[in-house]
């Protein structure tokens, strides 16, 4: 899923998909996948199946689930403009975070992959460091920084840039800041691998043929990294649309995302059928977008190989 995969061998018979899913995996290789397969079956496929089943169960408040199957949970969500709005808000937020994290992460990743300076190891550590801290703690850190009396607002007021504290918390901006920070290490790590995999001699060749550094980057290196950028983007997008902590702590009632709704239904109102339906809708939409992106990616690789 992450970057860093070697480019398909030049001798490949024009089937780009063969690089990803193994057509010729040796038998022992399959057995090596058995633990993962078991893990997935027990802790992902089975729960998802249970979730799916639950989403067709009727809900009667204050009573155990009655027997029978129903589509009412889906109708309640899809028939209500408010809930459709939360779905749209979730996807828009995911797209915005993905775009920002990739745009901000790319230069850093390029520096890490191509730089020759000594401090690279330290820089890498700095990139990874946030991942070592729980997302709850990181979110609280942002709350302390971005509050009305927080460090950021105090600095802005002291510099005279604003005369009223800027409202970051409980706005879209605050959630966006928190989530981009959450996604950046993921973006940078996947992009470093992608950029490192691009043969440096191609750039040298471009320079040798008279292109400036800038042109060599845009005409040669950047297009070659695009499939990796897209793969990293898919990863970030799927993490972001499922994010719960940051929207819950920094978002407030003006930004309700699907994970918040699911939490409310599962743990507070105990309308499991509805919660399961919302979760299924999120899963289906996210998986659909994922598959669509993967197809786009495959065709991108195809043309890349042909060129």
């Amino acid at each position: 899923m992450t970057g860093g995969r070697p480019r398909p061998p030049a001798t490949g018979r024009g089937a780009p998909a063969a690089a990803a899913s193994g057509g010729r995996v040796p038998r022992t290789g399959r057995w090596l996948a058995a633990p993962l397969a078991f893990w997935l079956a027990a802790w992902f496929l089975l729960p998802v199946a249970l979730l799916l089943a639950e989403s067709f169960r009727p809900v009667v408040i204050g009573q155990p689930t009655p027997p029978g199957l129903t589509l009412a949970n889906y109708a309640r969500f899809l028939g209500d403009p408010f809930y459709r709005g939360t779905l749209a808000a979730t996807l828009v937020l995911g797209a915005a975070v993905t775009a920002l994290a990739l745009a901000l992460g790319y230069p850093v990743a390029y520096g890490l992959a191509r730089g020759r300076h000594r401090g690279r190891a330290v820089l890498r550590l700095c990139v990874v460091a946030p991942l070592l801290v729980s997302v709850v703690i990181r979110t609280y850190g942002w709350i302390v920084l971005l509050a009305n009396n927080g460090a950021v607002n105090q600095a802005l007021l002291a510099l005279g840039l604003v005369d009223q504290p800027v409202k970051f918390l409980f706005t879209h901006t605050g959630v966006l800041i928190g989530l981009v920070h959450f996604a950046l290490p993921v973006a940078i790590l996947s992009l470093v691998g992608v950029i490192e995999a691009v043969d440096r001699s191609l750039e040298d060749a471009a320079r040798g043929l008279g292109a400036g550094a800038w042109r060599a980057f845009w005409a040669v290196t950047f297009p070659l990294t695009l499939p990796g950028v897209a793969a990293g983007g898919m990863l970030i997008f799927s993490l972001t649309v499922a994010a719960f902590v940051t929207p819950a702590l920094m978002g407030g009632p003006s930004l309700i995302v699907l994970s918040t709704l699911i939490y409310q239904q599962m743990t507070v109102t105990l309308e499991w059928g509805f919660g399961a339906a919302v979760a299924t809708i999120l899963l289906v939409v996210a998986t659909g977008l994922f598959l669509a992106a993967q197809r786009g990616l495959a065709s991108m690789r195809g043309t890349g190989a042909a060129a």
Partner: protein
Amino acid sequence: MERGARTWATILTASIALAALAGAPGRTRPAGAQARELVFSGYGGDYGEVMKKLVIEPFERQFNARVVYDATGSSAQKLAKLRATRDTYTWDVTVLTGYDLLAAGREGLLEPIGADRVPNLPKLHDFAQREGQGWGPITSVDPLVLLYNRDRVKPAPDSWTALWDPKYRGKVAVSHVSEGKGLFLLLVAAYMGGGDEKHIEPGFARLRELVPQVGAWLTLSPQYVPYLQREDVWLTPYWNGRAQLMIDQGLPLGTVIPKEGTLAITNSFGVPKSARQKTLAYEFINFYLDRTQQEAFARKIYYSPTNREVTLPPEYAGRVAVGREAIGRLRFPDEDYLARARGAWVERWNKEIYDALKYQK
């Protein structure tokens, strides 16, 4: 909590999945041959610490028993777990808030508890015997108070209307209706407007008016602490017990039960039908209802005890509601009705507060 795409679905379905998979085999604990073992499901944090020290340790000595403490989850999550596991053993005694106790009882998940099983029951205030409807005693209550910053809010407020005072615009914190504090604020607002839980309209009307005042939309109680510490929030409805603990920690805060009155949340103990040590469970509940434990608990956690015999020294005046008169002024909502109406209110709150915020801009 934000991990791979694989894990998130697992987390979302955790209540269902864990119950189905981990619940069945292998969860048995070694049955102690000598000391009887009781699994108690309580809350974490300060509550857990005090519970262990003041109740569980003396109980273990006196009854030659061992108590395993399960501190996971809120009351609603404990109810969810009871529901999902049903006939499978989970705990011998569990804390539940009043409305969750009633829901569990109605669904046939609990043993009925009368004075034959818990002899201390008649020593409780009448409401504490009555509100559990036979599924368990009300063991303590905790009123919703108005918590304010003593340095910033002057004179000290005596009415809920202070929340709507334009002087405090942007300095009010409000909890979502899916949390108890938000739910009770909605009810207080409804009462102020002449409604009640069955006529909730005035409550929502007042909350819409409150939206411009709100500077922080919070949910869980611990979330409030940094906002109160940094004085981003000056005024908020909050649980009395936790508020007093913050005051003990030296925050410049005060609490008041406003003149319009307030509501209190009820804590109770229930014994699941699937419990293994039922006799010991009743003994444990009875022990907790003794005057000694009730008083010790009130001194440490500031929950109002429901045992009529408990008295507290004068320095606790204004910090814990004790005794018939003080407790008589608290209002207890129709919890049966709340359990049924809450889902619809959560949906309505999501939509109306969202709209109110949109038009504010």
